[in-house]
């Protein structure tokens, strides 16, 4: 028997009747008929006692956050006043105890401004059940006289979306094979919900779902997943997101998937404590515990033998499930779906074949990013052409994209603009995120380090590239604002911020940007010569000020010659440099470590260096910087060593830079016996060593 698991999701049955008569409803149409003996509506006193039990449970288990979901039947049948009182009880009793997320799940037919105003007052989110378009919805979701509920539901959803978008949590759709999956998907998305979830109709081995083949439901869900994925997953779909998460060892966000113990408990209108609602489909009385909030704590309910027996994760599953390769994802499926009167819950899900099929499909669709072994070996030998560099760049882009997404978690204004830009021009987001300085400040911000707010300037630059309208307030730095990839604009003296107005992608600023420089080679290759970004220097890098035209001209002259020298003496690096080098940052002098060239994994694509006296030296510095940049990008993709030897990474970097041909260093083979190397790391070091000893390797220069 497993240890009791604290509940964190509390489903409160505030009304036990419904205005609809859906023929698939597990509350009324399935095995459990306990609704017949329930109080129709929860009293305020019962709600208060329930809230007190939740608070007591939160304190006992140190819960920082709980989810309270008002449900039915149809919860809105309780009326505005009673629902307001019930929500008020939870708000007041739990105030100061923990964070409480209030939600209501409704069929949507009765949603009105009065309800929504009250929900807003209590900060309660609203989810609505809708099965697709009119035809799909009316398969089951009808009134007792057979009349359609569709128009009323859509009216309620429209009210939420248009007037109370802050309350709208999403749509819940029960899958029916009779409906076309893409039509349903498109119908649901037409309401622009923040999230969608799909439910399989509750069924057991005694009463299996209607279907012709064992994978009919997977066959229905698969095109929806494919379309959703092809669309760039424009809305959150809990069922699919949970598969994506669990196939990679993460948690599920839905009860029907994953091995996490179920942490949902149900309180009926009369205060009785019950297990997961879906058990009503198994047999009459299946969810019952015999406990109630007036005489029992929720911790007692968590320790109830029936509850415990259903929370034992892998150990609680049927033998066939325990040895199944997808069990981490399906978790045996929803408990209720495993039931048969012959073997109780010791069965695979009645949807087993469906779950296995859709999980395998999702897993195959989203494989890990891979690297060709031949490219890895070429990189280990110190080179790597366009293809290898392209694979490294792809990895960098993935990191940049995720960093943008995570930055938007805490900035609603930027999120709105960037989500829009992402829809109309994904390239615009990628272009600004590829600016080398982005990763440095993005990581700082996500990790909570203090610093100037770069996000408005980033967002403004994306809006320009995407051709959007946007208004942003950009902090002034050193008397200027810098919009990455766009330019540096002087600010009015004494002002801390500049209001940046962008219309159809045009940046309407009074002042003209100051000149930007690019270093251009004869063959068309060019990189930015960055002297405007205020964050282009990491600690210890003396970046100096803006370049004069004559200084920029000196860089240009030297770069053109240096590039030709690289093409002549180091042709193996040319393609990689073309792909990966995007920025040169002038240094006013050596770094505090005495280096004339420096790169950072935090600034992929950039080499910071002191302008040397001759182009041959610049060629060497660029290639050395490129090597270090490449090694950092490789280590973004694969772990070459663990962190048990703090000095190993420096030795590795030194040896890898030396492979560029113009430095000598101890044989990397000496490193291959280090216990900190991973198997791939050992292969990499062995490859470096072989290349170092190769007679074809160009000898030390200058």
């Amino acid at each position: 028997m497993s240890e009791p698991v604290a509940f964190s999701q509390f489903v409160i049955k505030v009304h036990s009747r419904c205005d609809l008569a859906c023929d698939i409803c597990y509350v009324y149409e399935h095995a459990d008929q306990s609704w017949r003996d329930r109080s129709a509506v929860m009293t305020t006193a019962t709600a208060r006692r329930t809230a007190e039990r939740v608070a007591e449970h939160a304190v006992e288990h140190g819960l920082g956050e709980v989810h309270v979901i008002l449900h039915g039947g149809e919860p809105l049948l309780a009326g505005v006043e009673r629902l307001g009182e019930i929500l008020g009880e939870f708000r007041s009793v739990l105030a100061g105890v923990c964070t409480v997320n209030l939600a209501v799940h409704t069929n949507g037919t009765m949603l009105s401004r009065r309800f929504c105003d009250m929900f807003r007052e209590h900060g309660a989110k609203v989810g609505v059940s809708l099965d697709g378009d009119r035809a799909a919805n009316d398969q089951h979701r009808v009134y007792a006289n057979g009349r359609s509920s569709y128009d009323r539901v859509v009216r309620g959803i429209t009210l939420l979306r248009e007037e109370y978008p802050d309350l709208f949590s999403g749509l819940l759709c029960t899958v029916d094979l009779a409906n076309d999956p893409i039509t349903v998907y498109e119908a649901l998305l037409s309401h622009r919900p923040p999230s969608v979830n799909f439910l399989l109709q509750h069924a057991t081995w005694d009463h299996p779902p209607r279907r012709e083949r064992s994978t009919d439901y997977a066959d229905w869900l698969t095109p929806v997943f494919d379309r959703w994925h092809a669309d760039g997953r424009p809305v959150r779909i809990g069922f699919f997101e949970s598969i994506l998460s669990t196939v990679r060892g993460g948690a599920s966000t839905v009860e029907a998937l994953g091995l996490d113990p179920n942490d949902v408990v149900v309180i009926e209108t009369d205060g009785e404590i019950e297990q997961a609602d879906s058990l009503k489909t198994a047999y009459d009385g299946a969810p019952a515990t015999g406990l109630d909030v007036f005489t029992h704590s929720l911790t007692e309910a968590a320790a109830h033998p029936e509850v415990l027996s259903r929370q034992s994760g892998l150990d609680g599953l049927a033998e066939t499930c325990r040895s199944c390769p997808v069990v981490q994802s399906c978790g045996g499926g929803l408990l209720a779906h495993r039931f048969s009167s012959e073997r109780g819950f010791a069965n695979p899900s009645v949807y087993c074949a469906d779950l296995k099929t859709i999980i395998n499909h999702v897993g195959a669709t989203l494989a890990s990013r891979t690297l060709q072994l031949s490219e890895f070996d070429a990189l280990a030998a110190g080179l790597g052409g366009r293809k290898a560099a392209g694979e490294l760049l792809d990895g960098q882009r993935a990191i940049q994209r995720v960093l943008v997404a995570w930055l938007t978690r805490s900035d609603q204004a930027a999120r709105r603009i960037l989500d829009h830009a992402d829809l109309v021009s994904r390239e615009s987001v990628a272009r600004v995120a590829a600016h080398p300085v982005f990763r440095a400040w993005a990581v700082d911000r996500i990790e909570g380090r203090d610093g100037p707010d770069r996000f408005p300037a980033f967002t403004a630059a994306v809006a320009v590239h995407a051709g959007l309208d946007a208004d942003l307030v950009v902090p002034v730095r050193n008397g200027e604002i810098h919009l990455p990839t766009i330019g540096t604009y002087p600010a009015v003296a004494g002002e801390d911020t500049v209001a940046v107005r962008i219309r159809e992608g045009r940046c309407e600023l009074r002042a003209a940007p100051r000149r930007r420089y690019r270093l251009e080679a004869d063959d068309g290759f060019s990189v930015a010569l960055e002297d405007g970004d205020p964050d282009r220097g990491l600690p210890g890098w003396p970046v100096g000020g803006a370049l004069s035209e004559s200084q920029a001209a000196a860089w240009q002259k030297m770069f053109g010659s240096a590039w030709n020298i690289i093409k002549d003496r180091q042709p193996g690096h040319v393609e990689g440099l073309r792909e990966m080098l995007s920025m040169v940052i002038p240094l006013a002098g050596p770094t505090t470590d005495g280096e004339n060239v420096v790169t950072s994994p935090r600034m992929p694509g950039a080499v910071a260096l002191v302008l040397p006296a001759d182009p041959g030296r610049l060629a060497d510095l660029l290639v050395h910087g490129f090597q270090a940049m490449k090694l950092a990008a490789i280590q973004d993709l694969v772990d070459l060593h663990d962190r048990s030897d703090p000095g190993f990474d420096v030795r590795l970097r030194f040896a890898y830079v030396a492979l560029a041909g113009n430095k000598t260093c101890p044989d990397p083979g000496d490193m291959s016996t280090s216990s900190c190397l991973t198997p791939l790391g050992r292969r990499f070091v062995d490859g470096m060593s072989a290349a170092m000893r190769s007679p074809e390797r160009s000898g030390p220069g200058e």
């Binding site: 990679r248 948690a251 009860e255 990013r369 995570w406």
Partner: protein, 59 residues
């Protein structure tokens, strides 16, 4: 490793995902683990709470 011509990297494919999708799912967590310091990557449990905007599978 020797028998395969490809290496599975630390990163997962996020190419097809919108920013909205990447904000929440654990795929993006997997990417961030290689970039951020370990203490800065939220725990899966925290992500689960973040995701719980919809009620559990009811109704």
């Amino acid at each position: 490793m020797e028998s395969s011509s490809v290496i599975d990297t630390k990163l997962v494919r996020v190419d097809g995902a919108s920013l909205l999708a990447l904000r929440s799912d654990s795929e993006s967590l997997a990417v961030l683990r290689g970039v951020l310091s370990p203490s800065a990557v939220p725990a899966e449990r925290a992500v689960r709470s973040f995701n719980s905007s919809l009620p559990p599978e009811i109704n």
